[in-house]
């Protein structure tokens, strides 16, 4: 551990002050761990925060609830550290036409309350999650299954003042494409062929639920009962605003068997105190570092840190309604902006290597990623080319320089630093005014993006739900997609995505998705910036830890001293 000179000076002040008041601080000390071999019974303490919803897999779409749900439940498949799906509860998953799927469910599997898991469990759980009446946040993950439209139907009313209200109005209780032929066979008919459909079966929305969850989801979500590598230590293990305690589920047998005795998630409203706790071995592992620690964590935690690329990327989106970026001139300008960003340097200087320059619209850790797609040369910093393209655009249509080009973002989480760097790049290389348009909160930017009223560019990010190329393209850039806030639309791009989904093999599908990315490089509705690498640090009580494909810590894989 290393202390800076300032912190030592501060420490002296503190000692002086304490000596003065004649008052010492009591409390426990930390017993230093001595053994080096892993202790399979030791409980790990991990950084987290209060989950925002009851702990139901299909309702949990934020990280702090997600990490608990993923440990409490096991689905048909799960993802290994590299994001490769492996069968967990599924014995086999087969389809000859990518539309009709037959899934054999392992027999003899049970929830921790003794309830058996059969094919019917999945049918009931999925129908529950997809039903619009149950208001599950992740309900749309079932959209590919035939009959989803009926169970998820809604009615939209328009009030006199023009406000619309959407209310659930399902016309069926079960999806027609979903049947349990017998206890061990689940057949799924999709609305149309989708080659990568089985990739997503490891996502938490597809986890099985015991019958108690369907009867009273809210009560169940307080004390969930699952089938995963861990279970609640006791009823009431979730102490709101403080912690959640999980212990190893001894009955679990699957690919994610726990190497430790349990995980206690301690809630922190700020990563700063957690970092201090880690230094004092009062917390065992954290995947959220305070932004001022990014420069020091490697030296503060020598041999006790890891940084691995994950499936999260960032883009700088350019709204199509901005007159400066329309038509042929707009196209040249979008390219010029991209050439004017020195991704390499910003990743190194501002992010201290926790970002790598983007190479495409999806990060390299995703299966099917291809480097050097047509048009991807615009991701290289080239000041001369940027200036040249900008001048060409000005000849076609003069740039309206009356207002500075703004980049909208919430300023917390260290966003201001890199946006300043990007804006400076625009200023220096293109000779235009550029600045950050700061917001206190993420939601404010989101509202303005949704209502198409941002004057300039906006920061956007995407974390993969499941390891598939499509997941980085469809929900973000397809016409009318749920997170396509800038309303980009290109029928050719949509068509390639559909063809990719309908492909018989994953390779063929990925080929189509990469072709679709080339269209994005042509249109540049957003400029890929960088892909994220996730740093984690751990205490002296932990031997080894790593993150998975999506940046989540593989808690079950942690060995403790």
């Amino acid at each position: 551990m290393r202390f800076t000179r300032t912190s030592k000076a501060l420490g002296m002040v503190a000692i002086a002050a304490l000596a003065l008041t004649g008052c010492g601080a009591g409390g426990g000390s930390n017993d230093g761990a001595s053994q080096s071999a892993g202790d399979p019974n030791k409980v790990i303490t991990a950084y987290s925060n209060e989950p925002q919803n009851p702990l139901l897999p299909a309702n949990t779409n934020e990280v702090y609830g997600g990490r608990v749900v993923e440990l409490l439940f096991e689905g048909l498949r799960s993802y290994d550290a590299d994001g490769k799906p492996v069968n967990a509860l599924a014995e086999s998953i087969e389809s000859s036409d990518a539309q009709n799927w037959t899934i054999k469910v392992k027999q003899g599997q049970k929830f921790t309350n003794g309830e058996a898991i059969t094919a019917k469990t999945f049918v009931d759980s999925w129908n529950f999650a997809a039903n619009s009446k149950n208001l599950q946040n992740n309900g749309f993950f079932f959209e590919s299954i035939a009959g989803y439209a009926d169970v998820s139907a809604v009615t939209t009313e328009k009030a006199a003042d023009g406000k619309t209200t959407t209310t659930p109005a399902p016309t069926a209780e079960t999806m027609s494409g979903l049947t349990a032929t017998d206890d061990s066979t689940l057949t799924v008919k999709l609305a149309q062929p989708e080659a990568d459909w089985s990739l997503r079966l490891g996502y938490s929305a597809f986890f099985p639920l015991p019958s108690a969850a369907l009867a009273d989801p809210k009560t169940f979500g307080e004390n969930p009962v699952g089938n995963g590598p861990y279970k609640f230590e006791k009823t009431g293990s979730w102490v709101h605003d403080q912690s959640i305690s999980l212990v190893k589920n001894a009955d679990y047998s699957g690919p994610r068997e726990s190497k430790n005795g349990g995980v206690t998630f301690k809630f922190y409203t700020d990563p700063g105190p957690a970092y201090t706790d880690l230094q004092a071995n009062n917390l065992d592992i954290s995947d959220v570092l305070p932004s001022n620690a990014l420069k020091t964590y490697v030296s503060d935690f020598q041999d006790r840190n890891a940084t691995k690329p994950v499936a999260t990327n960032s883009t700088l989106n350019i709204p199509g309604y901005n007159p400066n970026f329309q038509g042929e001139a707009g196209k040249l300008r979008r390219q010029a902006l991209s050439y004017a960003i020195n991704r390499e340097e910003i990743a190194k200087v501002v992010f201290n290597g926790t970002r790598t320059p983007a190479k495409a619209f999806a990060p390299p850790v995703i299966d099917g990623f291809k480097e050097g797609l047509k048009g991807s040369e615009i991701l290289k910093f080239d000041a001369a080319k940027a200036k040249d393209l900008w001048a060409q655009a000005d000849k076609i249509q003069p740039y309206d320089n009356s207002k500075p080009l703004q980049i909208a973002s919430n300023t917390d989480g260290g966003n201001k630093e890199w946006i300043d760097a990007v804006a400076n790049g625009f200023k220096n290389n293109l000779g235009i005014q550029a600045e950050i348009q700061p917001f206190a909160k993420f939601a404010e930017v989101l509202n303005l993006r949704k209502s198409q009223s941002l004057p300039g560019l906006s920061r956007a990010g995407w974390q993969g739900d499941y390891p598939s190329l499509y997941n980085f393209l469809g929900p973000v850039w397809a016409t009318g997609a749920s997170s396509n806030y800038e309303k980009y639309s290109n029928p050719e791009f949509d068509k390639l995505l559909q063809e990719g989904l309908a492909a018989k093999t994953t390779d063929e599908a990925n080929g189509k998705f990469n072709q679709a990315q080339e269209i994005l490089f042509e249109d540049l509705p957003g400029l890929p910036l960088w892909d994220q690498a996730k740093p984690i640090v751990w205490s002296e009580n932990v031997v080894k830890a790593e993150t998975g494909w999506n940046g989540g810590i593989l808690y079950y894989n942690i060995t403790a001293k």
Partner: protein, 309 residues
């Protein structure tokens, strides 16, 4: 006396209405859709958003929302926050923790502040007096968060005497470190107030009389000098208690104390009007009661003060 107390408690009602209205309106006026903020880039189906919005009456105009909140308060049902947790239950979790922290801090600053203040005041100009004066100036000048980080680093990490954060184990021992940091700044003020007040009373006629009567030195100091010097100190401590209850946001954040300050901070980030205003209402009551106690203490300290006139 009873009439005085009743009158003061009745005065709390308009204060409460005024503050809740003001705070509620400020939260209402904050930009950004709180329901959209619950979800990140990945927004849920529109039906979920709309249902939540109508469930929390966010689609109603301000006066309806505020009216519903008042109705809730008077029926002792504070409703749920945006994560679906009952607000009353979370208040019941955070207030005891912060109350412990505040009482511990108050005890530290009173005992050491008054104690050191009396010694310094009795020997004005002596080496002890000069040392504490300079030291208290230093404490006042250093911001709380610097003190907090310094204490955490030295006692929590380097020396390992205390746990650097409190977290779920909020007991008197674990709260000692944050309570010391929290009490330290007010300690300096209490010390200086006591010192000034004591050294002034030392020259008062009644002290000379008491000494001339042959009373022992301790009796003169405790019963005559100290008691008469306490009125400004008690006034300060009363106002400070309210501040300790609600204003410990920085200290609670540094030491990860699951108390009022932390809850208030999170609720503000989420634009949760009802949670914020519920907390503020309790804080207003704490202020009112603390000040009432101070007023009652005046009569005990100085029998010349009367209430029923």
């Amino acid at each position: 006396m009873v009439r005085f107390i009743l009158r003061r408690l009745l005065q709390a009602i308009p204060v409460l209405l005024g503050t809740t209205l003001l705070v509620y309106y400020m939260v209402f006026a904050l930009p950004g859709d709180p329901i959209a903020a619950l979800f990140g880039d990945r927004q849920p189906p529109q039906a979920v958003i709309d249902t939540l919005r109508s469930q929390y009456h966010l689609d109603e105009p301000f006066w309806v929302q505020y009216g519903l909140f008042l109705q809730n308060i008077f029926t002792f049902n504070l409703g749920n926050d945006f994560t679906g947790q009952p607000i009353a239950a979370s208040l019941a979790r955070v207030f005891p923790v912060t109350a412990m922290l505040a009482i511990e801090a108050l005890a530290i600053q009173t005992v050491f502040g008054v104690g050191f203040g009396v010694f310094a005041g009795l020997r004005r100009g002596g080496w002890f007096d000069s040392t504490v004066l300079v030291a208290s100036l230093v404490v006042i000048a250093v911001p709380t968060f610097v003190l907090g980080f310094a204490f955490q680093l030295v006692f929590g990490v380097q020396l390992g005497w205390a746990k650097p954060t409190v977290g779920a184990n909020a007991d008197w021992g674990n709260l000692l470190l944050p309570a010391t940091v929290l009490g330290l700044v007010s300690f300096a003020y209490v010390l200086r107030l006591t010192r000034a007040s004591v050294s002034e009373s030392m020259n008062a006629d009644y002290v000379r009389t008491a000494t001339a009567k042959g009373l022992s030195r301790p009796r003169v100091v405790v019963a005559h000098i100290l008691r008469n010097s306490l009125i400004p100190v008690v006034t300060f401590l009363g106002a400070d208690l309210g501040g300790l209850m609600g204003g410990a946001i920085v200290t609670e954040a540094i030491f990860n104390v699951p108390g009022v300050g932390n809850k208030l901070y999170q609720a503000t980030l989420r634009t949760e009007g009802p949670t914020i205003v519920s907390i503020v209402s309790v804080l207003v009551l704490v202020f009112v009661v603390a000040n009432l106690l101070v007023d009652l203490l005046y009569a005990w300290l100085d029998p010349r003060i009367r209430y029923d006139q």
